[in-house]
């Protein structure tokens, strides 16, 4: 999967989790939780959805790597080859 597709994967997940949020103007380099109403429970859901939809496992020590959209893409792209 290309980086741009991985971005789409993450965006789709966030859109489904944060039902009432507008995700069209995300800044990829600013922490997701600063731009959206996401807390630790929602990050658990991002991890759970990645596993459910794409069979990607994210161990807990790697959760900080999901902080921004850029870091998500950088971390997940090699895992989704």
């Amino acid at each position: 999967m290309e980086a741009v597709e991985v971005r789409k994967v993450v965006l789709d997940i966030i859109e489904d989790i944060a039902l009432d949020e507008d995700v069209s103007n995300l800044n990829d380099d600013i922490a997701l939780r600063e731009q959206l109403d996401l807390d630790s429970m929602d990050f658990l859901d991002i991890v759970m959805e990645l596993k459910k939809r794409h069979k990607v496992e994210v161990p807990q020590e790697d959760y900080p790597r999901l902080a921004t959209m850029s870091s998500c893409v950088e971390y997940l792209t090699p895992k989704m080859q």
């Binding site: 039902l19 009432d20 109403d37 807390d39 658990l44 759970m48 459910k52």
Partner: protein
């Protein structure tokens, strides 16, 4: 509160494809209370095979409803606390809806008009905007204005969900800010009666949770009342494929040493699962384990607080009789006594709920509900003696009417079209909670753990309060014990999953 089985129009139980030959699940949930349903949704959302067992023929547990004479009446829940408007961030209600993937609009939530704390010489109005309460304090307790501001600042700066908070009695903390005894009692009154499992005081962290949920976020009501909330949960359970079995509770929890391994249902089926989440209450859950020593020092106490509730329907809406308050916290003494009464019930104080008086009124008639503290043991003792029991119910009814008349002097007795009285033994009968207790055991299990591995508590006895708290409890416990990597210890994952408030 549960419901009166014989009066029920039975809703068709859904998902009854429980197969006794294929008896292994990822998780068993004991009880279709709000927390149990929320937990089942979370686990089934992530492809766990979940079996939800409920002894009664309908869901809701302590917050339910019943039908009588073609009327649908809520019992238990007066109002949804933790009100949030659409799009309000970082609110418990918003978190809960996100976790269950329920769109805000589906709740059809309407805010309260305003509520009242009513003491002998002074009353305080409050609404979902804290400014009204501040103005009322300025008017009635002018010397306390700055003190209340300082208390408010302390509350806003306090992290009530931090797990290392020291236990502090809330009255000691509040007394260090507020000097007027009446004002202190008035502030505590709604917070105690809307959720404290302790008598007359509470832990300061719990106080802050309650303060925020009632005075800062406030009251709301779903169109259709508690039914709407339960419908939404049932809809989600079906969508995510959880198996739900009504009229089939858990008779016994099977253990091997200190590990739980499964359950035996009321109908005698054996079901095996590595994870059991119970919203039946802490002492109630442990009592399902035959070998458990219920008198050991580690066993949680049975709560002491139970209630009577009187429900009236009226020809007129309370508003048309001059009463526009949503909830009235009525107290007839200088201090507020929040404890198990010496007598059958305590008529010195009551909580009055007027569900017509939310902004959007969807009732066909006037409704008036009145809750008083009651002594379970005394009610239990006369329960078999029909005439003594009915006499006491009648005296509850009479006192409820006299309190009602003090707020609605224009009401005539012929305007009451229907009335019904619930007692502590009704609560026990329909919810299975020992002692008819409504806010559970004073011994909470914040991380849900029990003396048995694989068995966890959710709901009231896990310690979150109100129906929003209850559903968040189910969600948090499912996240922590069912979805997080099982090799991680509870303490390392706690901050991720159990601090939704």
């Amino acid at each position: 509160m549960g419901l009166f089985k014989e009066e029920l129009k039975i809703t068709p139980p859904m998902g009854r494809h429980f197969d006794p030959l294929d008896n292994t699940y990822d998780a068993i949930i004991i009880g279709a209370g709000m927390s149990g349903m929320a937990a089942a949704i979370r686990l089934a959302m992530y492809d766990k095979r979940v079996l939800l067992l409920e002894r009664h023929n309908i869901s809701g547990g302590l917050n339910s409803y019943y039908n009588r004479k073609k009327r649908g009446l809520d019992v238990g829940l007066h109002a949804l606390t933790n009100f949030a408007a659409k799009g309000e961030r970082r609110r418990p209600l918003t978190k809960l809806l996100k976790q269950l993937r329920i769109p805000y609009e589906k709740l059809e939530l309407t805010p309260q008009f305003e509520s009242l704390v009513s003491f002998p010489d002074v009353s305080l109005r409050f609404s979902n905007n804290i400014e009204l309460l501040k103005a009322e304090i300025a008017q009635n307790f002018p010397k306390e204005v700055d003190n209340f501001e300082r208390l408010l600042k302390h509350i806003l700066g306090f992290n009530e969900v931090a797990l290392d908070n020291e236990f502090m009695m809330a009255k000691d903390v509040v007394d260090s800010f507020i000097s007027d005894h009446s004002l202190r009692e008035m502030i505590f009154c709604p917070l105690l009666i809307y959720g404290s499992a302790w008598e007359n005081d509470m832990d300061f962290s719990q106080f802050v949770i309650m303060f925020k949920s009632i005075y800062l976020e406030g009251f709301g009501r779903s169109r259709g009342g508690v039914r709407r909330v339960l419908e939404l949960l049932r809809e989600r359970l079906k969508e995510v494929g959880a198996e739900v079995c009504y009229r089939n509770g858990v008779k016994e929890i099977l253990t091997h040493g200190d590990q739980s391994i499964g359950v035996i249902t009321d109908r005698g089926q054996e079901v095996i699962a590595p994870l059991i989440l119970s919203c039946a209450g802490f002492p109630e859950t442990l009592s399902l384990i035959p070998k458990h020593q219920s008198h050991s020092s580690k066993s949680p106490l049975v709560g002491k607080l139970s209630f009577t509730e009187t429900i009236f329907t009226l020809n007129d809406r309370p508003k048309d009789l001059g009463l526009d308050k949503t909830i009235i916290f009525h107290n007839d003494a200088q201090s507020y006594s929040y404890q198990r009464p010496q007598d059958f019930y305590d008529k010195r104080s009551a909580v009055i709920c007027l569900p017509n008086n939310f902004i959007d009124d969807d009732y066909q008639e006037g409704v008036y509900r009145l809750t008083m503290m009651a002594n379970y043991d005394l009610w239990r003792a006369i329960h078999e003696d029909k005439s003594a029991y009915n006499d006491k119910k009648n005296s509850v009814l009479k006192d409820s009417i006299s309190i009602m008349n003090s707020y609605m002097p224009k009401l005539k007795s012929e305007d009451i079209t229907f009335h019904d009285v619930f007692t502590p033994t009704s609560v026990e009968r329909y919810t299975g909670h020992f002692g008819g207790c409504v806010y559970g055991s004073p011994d909470k299990s914040r991380d849900g753990s029990t003396p048995y591995r694989g068995l966890f508590i959710c709901g009231t006895d896990q310690g979150f309060l109100g129906i929003v708290g209850s559903m968040l409890s189910g969600i948090s416990m499912a996240n922590l014990h069912g979805l997080m990597n099982q090799t991680q210890t509870a303490s390392s994952t706690e901050s991720m999953t159990t601090s939704p408030l």
